[in-house]
Structure formats: C-alpha cells, structure tokens
C-alpha cells in the first residue's frame, strides 16, 4: 500500500479535526479528497506529509512512518494552499526543490514556468497570490515524486490557469503514473480527472468509492406525478419537487436495465446525478438531514 492511514485522530484543544480515520491510497491513481471547508482534508494531508502530528493512530507511507523520515519525504511532494516559500527568487525556489527531489525534471519545470507566465527572477514575496499558487503547482509537477499531494493548490488562479493545471497534471500523470491525491472544492471541474473519490466530513470518511460508482449512485427521475410515484415506490428518495402535474425526485442506488426499461415504458426522464450533486447530498446527510421514505 502506498499510503495507509489507520485510526487517525487529530484533536485541537476543543475540536476533533480527524476522528478515527482509516483510509488507504494506492497508486497509480488520481484520488479526489473532497469535503467542505474545515472537514479535515488539509489536516489529513499535513499529517501524511509530516507537517503535523497525529493525536492517535498511524500513518504508513511505503510501509514506514513518514515522521521525520527523510528517505520517505523525498518520495512525496506536498503542495498546500497557503504554501510558504523562503524569501528568495522563483528560480532559487526551483533549485532548492531540485536538490530535494531525486526525480526532479528541470526541463519540465522551465516549460511550466512559461506555461504559467512565472518570471524566474521575480522575488517570491512580490508574486501575486495566483502566481504563488502556480509556483506551488510547478514544484508539485516537476518533482515527479511517487506521491503527489495537492491541497487546494489554486487559490487566486483563474479558470484558464486552472485548466492549464489540469492538463499538465494529466500529461505528467500519463508520462509518469504515480499516486496523486487532490483536495478541492471545485468538484465539477475535476470530476472527470478522478478515478476515486474520498469524502471527508466533520473529520470522518463518509464516502470512499470509484468515481464511476459515485456518478451512478443516484438518479433524478422526472415526469407525470403518478408515473414517478409508481417508479420510485419502495425506494429511498430525496429532493422531491412538484410543478403542475409533473414531479421530479432523486432516487438512491444504481438502476439496472430493467429499471431503465420500466422508466421508458412510463415515459420518465432519468438523469444521473453529477459527482458534485452526490457530494452535496452526502455532506447534507451527515449534517443531520433525513431521507424521505416512500411506502410501497
């Protein structure tokens, strides 16, 4: 297992940031670590990257503890949202990174600097927020580490630069498949890049599945009220809406061929929920919302 987290708990004074988290990350794969702000995503990544200590539980990276373990840390690059760089120029930051990471790709770093319009001679403290994020991305990609952790790496980056990031991430992953974990709240933007989705809420893992499973896991059914009601009878549903004689409701669970055929007969429209919609629902559910239940 590339990264193995067992029973991990992190307590701050009066708050439980991580609550008995057990999760594995196995490469090569791109995993989305999703959740609301304050859910515990950053804490989990920081502990994996040895930038913070656990209160309880264990983290193993390549089978060993990453705590103060230089050999392990060189195989892992962590780009965080509020990345702090020492007070020097862009090119110096890249040179420092090139000494630390054994697979550092200098050509790629230079190409990425051009892609993101980063002036190599500018002092880092004079970079805009977006440029600092871009520098973090350059380091994250050019390190070509076996594990790449991106924690909301694009504060201040516009849509064009973010798309550049996704394209370069895919290209570098294609050339060099590794273990990538990407935390983000821009779920719709990254949904198609992800192979697996881990969702964390209030410090707990609430969902861990392949992106395909999540995408097919709930469906909006719409059409004439009577037909919709007939179709959803006995199923778990939520978000029921009505207008005139039409109804739309979300049903939980994967639909099979027979379901689709039945829906066609009843002239119902079926539309799978997007990853983002499923995630929003999952977050709402753990906040105490309850499901409606239709009786058969």
């Amino acid at each position: 297992m590339t990264i193995s987290v067992t029973g991990l708990t992190r307590r701050y004074r009066d708050q439980l940031a991580l609550d008995d988290v057990t999760v594995d990350f196995e490469g090569p794969s791109i995993t989305g670590l999703l959740g609301r702000n304050g859910a515990g995503k950053s804490t989990l990544m920081r502990i994996i990257a040895n930038q913070e200590f656990a209160s309880k539980g264990s983290v193993r990276v390549f089978g060993a503890s990453p705590v103060e373990n230089d050999a392990i840390l060189r195989r892992m690059v962590f780009v965080r949202e509020d990345q702090v760089f020492p007070d020097f120029k862009v090119q110096h930051a890249l040179r420092a990174a090139s000494w630390f990471y054994p697979n550092w790709n200098g050509e790629l770093a230079e190409a990425l600097l051009r892609d993101f319009d980063l002036p190599p001679n500018r002092a880092i403290k004079k970079l805009s927020r977006g440029m600092r994020s871009a520098l973090g991305i350059v380091v994250g990609l050019a390190a070509q580490a076996e594990i790449t952790l991106f924690d909301e790496p694009y504060a201040g980056l516009d849509a064009v630069a973010r798309r550049m990031f996704y394209d370069r991430l895919l290209a570098s992953y294609a050339a060099n498949p590794s273990t990538v974990v990407l935390s983000t709240h821009l779920i719709d933007e990254v949904a198609d890049l992800l192979e697996r989705v881990v969702m964390i809420d209030h410090g707990r893992i609430v969902l861990d599945a392949t992106a395909d499973e999540v995408r097919g896991s709930a469906t909006t059914v719409s059409g004439p009220i009577a037909a919709v009601e007939e179709f959803v009878a006995g199923r778990r549903t939520w978000d029921r809406r009505r207008i005139a004689s039409q109804e739309s409701v979300v049903v939980d669970g994967t639909l099979d061929d027979a379901d689709w055929a039945r829906a066609r007969e009843l002239r119902l429209n079926l539309e799978a929920l997007s990853l983002q919609q499923v995630m929003v629902h999952a977050a709402g559910e753990t906040s105490g919302d309850v499901h409606e239940r239709t009786s058969a």
Partner: protein, 138 residues
C-alpha cells in the same frame, strides 16, 4: 465536453464505436491511445482505458503488442449489424408509440418517413424498410 449521465468510460466507448461505424476509424487504423484520449477529453487515463476495454471485449479493436490498439477486421460490418438490430427497438418503437399518441396512422406515418429529409428511395434498402415496417404495428 462529456455529459453527465452515462458513465464516462461508456461514452468514450460509444464515441469510438461511432467513428468505426461511420468509417472515420477504418479497419486496420490505429485507435487513439489511452493517454491521447485522456488528454483530449480531460479525463483520467484509467477511465479512457476502461472505454477502450469495452471495444476490445466486443472484438472491435485489438491489441498489437508494443504498437497499440487497432480496429479489427470486420469491425464496421459487425457494428452496423448490431446497430441495425437495435434500430427498431430504439427508434422505430418510440416513434410509433408517439405517433399513436398524436393519432397519426400507419399510412400517414409511412408517408412522413418517405418525405422526410434524407429519406432513401433506393430499393437496395428495401430490407431495412421492411424491417422497419415490422416494428410498426399500430
């Protein structure tokens, strides 16, 4: 670029199959690689690979070791055959059902079909027309 709804891998498989059916990907042509598909559609390479696997499982494309994936011999004909078989179910039956709801009788429907844009008068397609008529049972 891809819609929500069907799983992405099956959308990828469908698009490649469309190209094979249309002949833009001819038999013996190389199919785009997993990484090319991933970069083009901005999707995970594993998802692209899963899409291509659907076509390999159906024998529409085959692997040549160390070179890549290629459209198999006879792939287009098999695909067209399969799609012709699905045609009645997917298009004719819903069309006939909707016509019935609109009180369009079989004769009127057939003449609409004949007069529609792109209708083929060619008798070489009589088989398909006959097949279509079988599906029409108002």
């Amino acid at each position: 670029m891809l819609d929500e709804g069907a799983p992405i891998f099956s959308q990828i498989a469908d698009r490649l199959a469309d190209e094979i059916a249309e002949g833009t990907l001819a038999e013996g042509d190389q199919v785009p690689s997993t990484n090319e598909l991933a970069a083009f559609y901005r999707i995970n390479p594993a998802t692209a690979a899963k899409g291509i696997n659907v076509l390999t499982d159906n024998g529409l494309v085959e692997k040549r070791r160390g070179v890549g994936m290629f459209v198999s011999a006879g792939a287009r004909e098999r695909l067209l055959d399969e799609r012709r078989k699905r045609f009645a179910q997917r298009y004719v039956e819903p069309m006939v059902a909707e016509a019935a709801r609109l009180r369009i009788d079989t004769e009127a429907l057939l003449s609409m079909v004949r007069e529609s844009k792109g209708a083929q008068s060619d008798v070489a397609h009589a088989d398909e027309l006959a097949h279509m008529q079988e599906g029409i049972t108002i």
